[in-house]
């Protein structure tokens, strides 16, 4: 009788181990399926092509904008600058990126100098039309030219206005909608770094 109970218990242990193993395996598979890894391959101001892969190990804070934008872009870059200042030493593990959706004009007017006025850590990338489109598509965001006779140069851009956070393996983590205060972004990042 006692032996039967003991066998039954061991069987129960074995079954539960297999069950836990199956659950872990499934969770892992789901995580892999969920890991959305946006890609880009765009030149910095010096002309060096930068890709998502080279930033593995760091968190990437990515914004799509254009420097002729007077309101949303400088406001967001100002928040990013505050985030980088307030992160202290942990700022080393975060790379802010500004991907231009108006690359020809931004290259001409000096993207690096503009971004440095906010924070020296912000890296500006401005590629050709095809590479920009490909980055925009990979992030599943939006950036489009709109003809506007009253705007400088006869056009303006409408663009996704959130900040996108990628993790150290290049995986998509979340977005911070336009207007998220620097303090909220810092609190989120501190929980991850």
């Amino acid at each position: 009788m006692l032996k039967k109970i003991r066998i039954a218990l061991w069987v129960a242990v074995a079954v539960s181990l297999v069950g836990v193993g199956a659950l872990l395996w499934r969770a892992d598979r789901q995580e892999q399926a969920a890991a959305f890894k946006p890609e880009f391959s765009l030149p910095d101001e010096a002309g060096t092509v930068r890709t998502a892969e080279e930033f593995r190990g760091k968190h990437l804070l990515v914004f799509f904008g254009f420097t002729n934008c007077p309101d949303v872009c400088p406001t967001t870059m100002a928040e990013v600058a505050q985030v980088m200042d307030d992160l202290g030493p942990e700022a080393e593990d975060v790379q802010p990126l500004f991907i231009s959706v108006d690359p020809a004009r931004d290259r001409e007017s000096g993207l690096g100098e503009y971004l440095a006025a906010f924070h020296p850590s912000i890296l500006g990338l401005a590629g050709d039309k095809a590479a920009t489109k490909s980055a925009v598509n990979s992030f599943k965001v939006f950036g489009d030219r709109q003809e506007d006779a009253s705007a400088p140069g006869g056009y303006t851009m409408s663009h996704s206005s959130s900040l996108y956070l990628l993790g150290p393996r290049g995986e998509w983590l979340r977005q911070f909608e336009y207007g998220t205060p620097a303090d909220d972004i810092i609190a989120d990042l501190k929980g991850r770094l």
């Binding site: 420097t67 002729n68 934008c69 007077p70 309101d71 949303v72 400088p74 406001t75 870059m77 100002a78 928040e79 600058a81 505050q82 007017s109 000096g110 100098e113 503009y114 006025a117 906010f118 924070h119 939006f142 709109q146 506007d148 009253s150 705007a151 400088p152 303006t156 409408s158 663009h159 996704s160 206005s161 959130s162 977005q175 909608e177 336009y178 207007g179």
Partner: protein, 159 residues
């Protein structure tokens, strides 16, 4: 001890005076205009921005129909509009200033877009902007130029 207390009091008296220099208030008729600010520019190629707070203390509505400034050849009123997280910036033909309410031209909403800059806007300087109101008429306000990375007026939102 007494000395540092006195020094502290002196500073407390001075600070509001410093802040006020950046936060000119102008009142005309029923309107109180305050917290006019802009961000420094790099050169003149890119448009600058203009933010301001307008309080209508009266019992009749007014409208802001346009802005003018000597620093820009083409100043316009715009509104940042978010649609599913996508920002666009349509021209605002006028901005309603309802009776008894405060309307702010502020980041992420209404703003003046100063195109065709005549000069670089430098941090610490200021420039005049004339706001054109349908009822109150033109009102000129001194606009503080803050660093490019400024997030709000140096004096905070006017009451």
């Amino acid at each position: 001890m007494l000395k540092s207390l006195l020094a502290g009091m002196g500073l407390a008296v001075m600070l509001p005076a410093v802040a006020l220099a950046d936060c000119a208030e102008v009142s005309q008729g029923q309107l109180l205009i305050s917290a006019a600010w802009s961000r420094a520019t790099i050169g003149t190629a890119r448009p600058a921005v203009f933010y301001v707070t307008i309080r209508n203390n009266g019992s009749t509505d007014d409208r802001l129909t346009g802005i003018e400034t000597p620093v820009a050849g083409m100043p316009m009123l715009h509104e940042t509009v978010m649609t599913d997280g996508v920002a666009s910036m349509p021209h605002a033909s006028d901005i309603s200033i309802p009776a008894g309410q405060t309307v702010s031209l502020a980041p992420g909403g209404y703003h003046g877009m100063l195109m065709d800059l005549e000069e670089e806007l430098k941090d610490g300087e200021s420039f005049p902007v004339t706001l054109k109101f349908e009822n109150a008429g033109p009102v000129s306000v001194e606009t503080a130029v803050l660093p490019l990375r400024a997030r709000e007026a140096a004096c905070g939102d006017a009451p």
